[in-house]
Amino acid sequence: MQLKPPGVLYTFTINRNPWGSQGEPDYGIGVLSFPNFSDVRLVGRLNEIDPEPNVGDLYGLTFDRSAGGLPRPTLVKWAST
């Protein structure tokens, strides 16, 4: 199948706790669903949390580099892509 954006924000959480001594304090994690592909969900880092998103918002998916150098899926508001 070919998955086409945008995805729909199925759920999210804003992390406010710095896990461990090196932890980042505030960031968002979202799960995208794709209405035409009910078996597919993608999870990624939200590119912005201020203002907080809403369930149902539209997002695209990109990859950036995490602090460890690994590619990290990042959810980008569809209107801003």
């Binding site: 199925y10 759920t11 999210f12 959480t13 804003i14 992390n15 406010r16 706790n17 896990w19 461990g20 932890g23 980042e24 960031y27 994690i29 799960v31 969900r41 993608l42 999870v43 990624g44 880092r45 907080e52 369930v55 995490s66 460890g68 690994l70 990290r72 899926p73």
Partner: protein, 393 residues
């Protein structure tokens, strides 16, 4: 009447505290010796031993209790059956496996223990993250890659979706925590016993939205042990509860984010599996012990067991009356893990047994005959339906 199903005949707990001056091994031995004595047995009667998770790798310090073989050796047990596994029907797995073992004659009396030393392992820090490197396989791969470093994040995703879909409010979620605290005030072993108001709850800091501090259980040091016995040993026991039914089902992909409906958990499969094995119904249950690693789990467990309709758990717990000690379904009567401390499910089993045996002190609920126990969260779940048995002494 003689029982026909597997029994739980004893329960024991070590001291429970934030940072205890005893090792996990010592706490475990304390709990086992207490459980065996509670059953009216001697250590040499124990021929089965099980634990969760056992010598598993990649788990956080303080999460893994003492090795099964260290305990066997330390107590000088001659075992006919033994098991330690991190995979299965959540923390209920070793109890369920022990029930099967005694029922099929592999052993007569199995001790099952769970030991936590997470509070000492944390030192002066807060709840730790998942402490292994970001994996390239396994069920947490994508969550970890996105920065979901704690089960609090996973639970936050479930809570957000559930509250969105059913209009459940933060205040309704809070009643799980408030009720637990009220019950903990009658439990001398509970860690958090001071009053907790809704204002306190709402003002507490956010950990992973919509979950805040009092939605999360509290790490402790402590061990719990139970004795699972064969039904034909009932006459030898000081008291017993019968395991009326058990649930172990998990019917979807084991990825938190890919669970088909994040307003449900594996709890729904395990509970349905359990009800299919018994003539008893949710209305027959006198009280419930439902896992509360996070408050959202308890709401979902209430619905999984059928104590309220889908989306109705927020209304069910609101005000705390229905789930109070005198309510229609007393819930987490020892304070759960939110206030009692994170004994990782086994605290709920211990409380279920004490309530069935009339040994719950100030928090004793009247006329307890049937208790539902739901352990686990997210993609892991196991259930027990316990019924009151005889008391010899």
């Amino acid at each position: 009447m003689s029982p026909s199903k597997s029994l739980i005949s004893g329960v024991g707990q070590s001291a429970v505290g934030r940072r205890l001056p005893r090792s996990g091994y010592q706490l475990t031995i304390d709990a086992i010796e207490a459980a065996v004595a509670d059953a009216g047995l001697s250590i040499d009667a124990i021929d089965g031993l099980a634990t969760f998770p056992g010598d598993a790798v990649g788990l956080n310090p303080g999460y893994i209790g003492p090795d099964l073989y260290d305990v066997q050796d330390g107590l000088g047990l001659e075992l006919n059956w033994h098991l330690a596994t991190p995979q299965g029907a959540a923390q209920a797995a070793p109890i369920i496996e022990a029930a099967l073992a005694v029922h099929h004659g592999l052993c007569k009396h199995a001790v099952v223990y769970r030991t936590m030393t997470e509070a000492s392992a944390q030192g002066s820090g807060r709840r730790g993250p998942i402490d292994h490197p970001i994996a390239t396989d396994g069920i947490l791969t994508w969550l970890l890659t996105a920065g979901a470093m704690s089960p609090t994040n996973f639970a936050g995703l479930y809570a957000q979706r559930y509250m969105h879909e059913y209009g459940v409010t933060k205040e309704q979620l809070g009643w799980v925590a408030l009720s637990a605290r009220e019950h903990a005030q009658r439990n001398p072993l509970a860690i958090l016993r001071g009053p907790l108001t809704m204002d306190d709850y709402l003002a507490s800091r956010v950990i992973s939205s919509p979950l805040s501090l009092f939605d999360c259980d509290i790490a402790v040091d402590g061990a719990t042990a139970v004795v699972v016995s064969a039904p034909d040993t009932a006459a030898d026991l000081r008291h017993w509860a019968e395991i009326e039914a058990m649930g172990t089902a998990m019917r979807h992909r084991p990825f938190w984010e890919h669970w088909p409906d994040l307003t449900t958990m594996a709890a729904h499969d395990a509970a349905a599996h359990m009800w299919a094995q018994t003539a008893l119904k949710p209305a027959d249950v006198d009280l419930a012990q439902l896992y509360d690693g996070f408050s959202i789990f308890t709401l979902l467990w209430l619905e999984a067991f059928g104590f309220c309709p889908r989306g109705g758990a927020g209304s069910f717990v609101e005000g705390g009356k229905r789930i109070g000690l005198d309510g229609e379904l007393p819930l987490n009567t020892a304070g759960g893990q939110l206030s009692g401390g994170r004994l990782h499910g086994f605290g709920f089993v211990a409380e279920a047994l004490r309530q069935l045996w009339g040994e719950a002190g100030e928090r004793q609920v009247r006329d307890v005959e049937v208790v539902a126990v739901g352990l686990g969260g997210g993609v892991l779940a196991g259930t027990l339906l316990l019924t009151k048995g005889d008391t010899r002494s």
